[in-house]
């Protein structure tokens, strides 16, 4: 998604002269176009995420539009207090951008993964998280993020929309596929694994598939409510830990709406065997790949 991100930011930065792009010394082979296009408004502040976030809060208080970019865990966890105090408690229009959400950095290892970012950030006041599902979704998601005036987080990853799947315009909840047996709700590119199963000639089930692209999700959409009433089964898919993730957020909505259903979750469990590999390896190890999703759904539907 980095390519789509840099192209979109370049476009927005040319239009919005108040945009200041702050990077924590990252962006090689990815952000050169932004640097070229906006000159002195592109600031490599060095590897100093805490300073970057506090400075961004101050810049926003002066009417500038700062974007803070780094690898997701570096720009979320290291300066978490700066995000909480200087950005969120002052409700300032700072855009935090983390590349490599979930296990996106694969073999780079745990230091480079962000599987608790949404839990941390959605617990902060005024923060909105924006999570594109695929490369094709990045521009629309970024535009939505810039329409929101306030603390924002963009979780970038990597994912290509499969052929035959169409993506509606950005909304916090979008329906991607119509089925009848189960309601599958996911966040981020990991949800695309469901499309290796639904709509295939040998598929043993059909599913309503929804993507959530804004966290905390403000309301449970009517479409999701109807779907749950119809299927009676919910499966959550997220490349994020269970605590504070999509599943827990939606569970509270489902309870508040008195919806009767079985509630099932596939999520990131961390590093169950202590070993590292590609993003696909981690997805597989955590039950998030297509085979494990199929097993989980068959278990839910047929016991």
């Amino acid at each position: 998604m980095r390519r789509e991100f840099s192209k979109t930011i370049e476009k927005i930065a040319i239009e919005k002269q108040e945009l200041i792009f702050l990077t924590g010394d990252l962006g090689f082979m990815a952000l050169e176009n932004i640097k070229e296009a906006i000159g002195e408004r592109f600031v490599n502040a060095g590897v100093s995420e805490q300073n970057i976030v506090s400075m961004a809060a101050a810049m926003a208080s002066e009417g500038l539009l700062p974007v803070c970019y780094s690898i997701a865990p570096f720009i979320v966890f290291r300066p978490a207090e700066q995000i909480r105090l200087d950005v969120c408690l002052h409700n300032l229009n700072v855009k935090i951008v983390g590349n490599g959400g979930g296990y996106g950095y694969g073999i780079m290892g745990a230091t480079h993964h962000a599987i608790e970012d949404i839990a941390v950030l959605t617990s902060f006041q005024n923060m909105k998280c924006f999570i594109p599902i695929s490369n094709e979704d990045v521009e629309g998601t970024i535009n939505a993020m810039f329409q929101h005036v306030g603390p924002s987080y963009l979780r970038l990853g990597f994912g290509v929309l499969p052929e035959g799947v169409s993506l509606p315009e950005f909304r916090h909840t979008r329906k991607l596929y119509i089925g009848r047996d189960i309601t599958v709700i996911g966040m981020g590119p990991v949800l695309l694994n469901i499309f290796k199963l639904v709509g295939k000639p040998n598929s043993t089930f059909t599913a309503d598939v929804f993507v959530i692209s804004e966290m905390p999700v403000p309301i449970l959409s009517e479409e999701i409510k109807h779907s749950i009433k119809k299927t009676g089964h919910v499966l959550i898919i997220e490349e994020h830990v269970k605590r504070g993730g999509l599943g827990e957020h939606l569970a509270s909505h489902i309870l508040e709406n008195n919806l009767q259903c079985t509630f099932n979750q596939l999520y990131a469990k961390g590093y169950p065997n202590g070993r590292y590999g590609s993003q696909s390896y981690h997805q597989s190890l955590n039950g998030l790949d297509a085979n494990n999703i199929e097993l989980a759904i068959n278990q839910i539907l047929h016991g």
């Binding site: 060095g46 300073n51 506090s54 810049m59 208080s61 002066e62």
Partner: protein
Amino acid sequence: MKEIELIKRDCQYKILSLYKKANAGHIGSSLSCLDLLVYIFFKKFQDGDKVILSKGHAALALYVVLSKAGFFPESELETFYQDGTFLAAHPPCGNKLNGVIFGTGSLGHGLSLSTGLAFSNKFTKKKSNIYCIISEGDCNEGSTWEAALFAGQHKLSNLVVLMDNNGLQGFGESEGVINLNPIVEKWKSFNFDVSTAENGNDFKSIEQSFVLLNPNSEKPKIIIARTTKGSGVSFMENKMEWHYLPMSDEQYHIAINEIPA
């Protein structure tokens, strides 16, 4: 200087009486940096300037000086420490009090915030200055030095840092906790224009330290102000416990009587 001395005395009186009324601590911290705050607001401050108190635990010193300088009514001070106040023990977040741009209290944020303001002012070609008051505790935090590196790199000459260098911090003497010396050389090596106020609780000394700064320097500036924790109250001076303790009735009586009439 006579007028500013009177302002200081009034502020000292208010600080002691409000801390007594609240039965609260951080008295020594407020008295340590009071002179720096009074000097900035009454001798240096111009329209558009901004002041960040990074050592947010000295909030009452900031509140009384802001009120004295007309940022909000003096009556507001009476709400200090009360339920429902904006005047908490540390400055409030979210632009709730005129003159308080950022809530502070967790050390190590103020210099980064000030650096961001200074960068913004340079970028938008505003002529105003950003003043930031930091403590030794602030200088234990890595983020302070991240900000210092950035300010030096970007030649933020509109940034003026005042270090309340009283030699004490939360749980010990600074030299025994984290020795910051050689502090002057340290800041110089971070590309700051450095000056020292040998007595940061004396306006002439503070004034002299400003004179010694190079007006043509492109560097950010810092004044290392050698201050006394609890300055002006004999039994509090240079005593770590007055970071925390509230005053008894007897101590309050002694303290108030030590302020020149």
